[in-house]
Amino acid sequence: MKIKDPDVLIIGAGASGAAAAWSLSQTSLKIVCLEQGGFMNPEEYPSTKIEWESLKYNEFNVSPNIRNLPSDYPINDTSSPIAIANYNAVGGSTILYSGHFPRFHPSDFRVKELDHVADNWPLNYYDLEPFYNLNDKMMGVSGLTGDPAYPLIEGMFAPIPLGAMGEVIGKGFNKLGWHWWPSYSAIITQEYMHRGKCINLGPCNMGCPQGAKSSTDVTYWPIALKNGVELRTHCRVREVTVDKNGKLTGAIYYDKDGVENFQSAKIVIIACNGVGTPRLLLNSTSKCFPTGLANNSGLVGKNLMLHPLGYVEGIFEEDLNSNLGPHGCCLQSQEFYETDLSRGFVRGYTMQILRGPGPVETTLSGVGRREIPLGMDHHKAVKNTLGKAIGMGIIVEDLPELHNTVTLDPNIKDSNGIPAPKINYQLSENSKKMLAHGLEKGKEVMNAAGSKKTMSFGPVRNTGWHLMGTAKMGNDKENSVVDKYGQSHDVKGLYIVDSSIFVTSGGVNPASTLQALSLFICNKIKEENNL
C-alpha cells in the first residue's frame, strides 16, 4: 500500500540506503525509499549465460556511460584519469561489487592527530565498532579472527577458500616476512537467511546468481520490505525541497512514466553515493540555498576521493585454477597500511589479491599487451596463462583536496533532463608516490612467490568505484557539510548516510565502513525520537 505521508524519505536503495531502511524499519516510523533503478533478477545475471564474460563490455559494464541503461545517469569523467564506476538498482553498487569487506583501522579516524594531514573524524573506530558488528551480521561476512592488523573481529563465517593461488602468494608474503590475512568478504560460505552459500563461480562483479554475495537486495531489503518500508523503484529524485524559510519539505521526483511528483517528509535521508549525493544537493537550489542545498560551507562536491588503484599481475608455472572462486576475495596484506615516513609518503595502502581473469579477459588483455600472440602460437600461450595468473590491486589512500570535485555539467543531462555530474580529479604527489611504492612492493611479492612473468601499472582507469568525501562530516559547520550524526549543519532533518560524508578515505574498500556509519546515524535518529 502506498504510504502518503511518510516520516522518513530515503533517496537511494544501495549499500547505505538499504542499511538505513532496515534500521529505521524496526520502529513505528513510516518510511518511503525512492530509487531510480529497479529490482534485479538473479536468474538473468550474466553468469547464467554462456556469453557471461562478454556482457561485461556492455550492459554489465561498471561505467554508467557505457551501460547507458534507463536507470543510469551520465557522468562526465573526461577530466579525471580515473573513470567513475557504479550501479543503479535496488542494491546499488553492491550488485557489482566484489564484496571485499575490510574495516577501517582505528588510526584512519585520527589522521590529523597522528600524521598531521587532513582532519580527524568526529568519531572513532570504537564508536562504530558495534555497528560494524551489526552490519556484518546483517550482511553475512566471512573471514578469520586473529588478524594482527585489527582490533578483535569475531563472529564471521569460515573464510573464502584460499585455493592453490592463495597458498602460493601467501608463501610469497611469508618469505618476505610481510603481513597477509584471508579476506574479510561480504560473501557467505554457509547457507544463511535463505541465501545459498558461495559455490566459487567467479564472476561476482556481474551479480551473484547464487545470492551468496551480500548485495543489499538480498540482505537488508527483504527484511526492510517485510517490516513495511515502501520502496518505489524507477523513481529518480530531481531535488530535495525546502520552504521559504529553508525548512525541509520533501523531494521532487520523476516516476517510471516520467511524471513529476512531490513527496513530503519530515526527515530526508540521502544515500545516492559520493557522486550522486553532491549532484542531488547541487541540483537542489532555492532562495535560501542558491549554491545548492546544505552548502553554506561551500564544501558540497569538494574533496572527492577515489582510491587510485594500481594493478600487479604475476604469471606462474603451475596450474593454480586461479580463475575459479570469488574474483575479488582471496587475501589481503596491510604490511604498508600505517604511516612510515621513511617510505617518502604519508598514510598507506592495502594489497588486495585478486583471482585470475576468465578466458575472454585473459586473451583480450594478453593480446592487447602483446603477451599472447595471434596465429599458430595463440592457443599454447593461452594455456600458459589461463588459471596461472594472480592479480593484486593496490588500494591507495587518497587524501582530501579541494580541487578534486563533483560539479554540475553545464551541457550534459540525464533522460529526465536533470543536469549530470562532472568530475575534476587529479592524483596528488603523495598518492603518486604511494602508488609507485605499492607497485614495486607488489612485484616483490609476486617474484618471491615464484612468478615467472610479473607486470604492473596504475592508476587503472576504470576503477573509480570508491566515491568518498564530497559532503564531509565534522563538528565545525564552516568546514563540513554534516555533523557527527550525518545531519546537515544547515537543514534540520536532512541526513546523508553514504560515503560522501567520509572525512578521509582510509586505504581499504569502503562499503563496510559506510554501512556501519549509516547504522550509527540511524541509531541516533531513533534515540533522538525516542524510538
Binding site: 557471461w52 597458498e167 566459487n200 575472454v360 583480450l364 593480446v367 596465429g375 589461463l386
Partner: protein, 134 residues
C-alpha cells in the same frame, strides 16, 4: 537474408583461420563464428559491422600471413576492434570453454571446487605483534 556476401565469407574465413587457427581437434578455428551469429545480441551485431568494415578495406582474394600483417598495419584501429570481438565470441563458445579446462561452464550448475588452502601458513603472521595504530 544472408549476413555476409560470399566474398566477405571467403575473406573472413581466411582471416579467422590465420588469427585463431585450429589447435588439435579440441579447439576449432575461429571461422565457426561466422555461422553462429545471432543478430539480437549487441556484441554479435558489432562483430558483423566490424567484419564488413574490415572486408571493405581488403582487396586481396587470397589472404596469407604476410598479407594479414599488411592489413593490420594499414588498418590498425579497425583490425584491433575486429580482433577484440573475435576473442570475445571465440571464448564465449561452449565447445571452446569445455575444452579449455576453465572449470564449470555457465550456467554453472555445479559451481567449482576451490581448495581451502593451508591456513597453517598464517602461523608466522599470527605471531606478529599488532601492526595497527590505535
Amino acid at each position: 537474408m544472408e549476413i555476409f556476401s560470399e566474398e566477405e565469407i571467403s575473406k573472413l574465413s581466411q582471416i579467422l583461420n590465420l588469427i585463431l587457427p585450429e589447435y588439435n581437434e579440441n579447439l576449432p578455428s575461429a571461422s565457426f563464428i561466422i555461422n553462429n551469429l545471432n543478430l539480437t545480441n549487441s556484441i554479435h551485431k558489432h562483430f558483423v559491422d566490424a567484419s564488413k568494415n574490415l572486408c571493405s578495406r581488403v582487396e586481396n582474394i587470397i589472404i596469407t600471413d604476410l598479407i594479414l600483417t599488411q592489413i593490420k598495419k594499414n588498418n590498425f584501429r579497425e583490425f584491433s576492434v575486429f580482433v577484440n570481438l573475435v576473442l570475445i565470441l571465440y571464448y564465449s563458445n561452449k565447445k571452446v570453454l569445455n575444452n579449455l579446462n576453465v572449470g564449470s561452464v555457465p550456467p554453472f550448475p555445479e559451481g567449482n571446487f576451490v581448495k581451502e588452502g593451508d591456513l597453517y601458513l598464517l602461523e608466522q603472521v599470527f605471531l606478529k605483534e599488532k601492526i595497527y595504530r590505535e
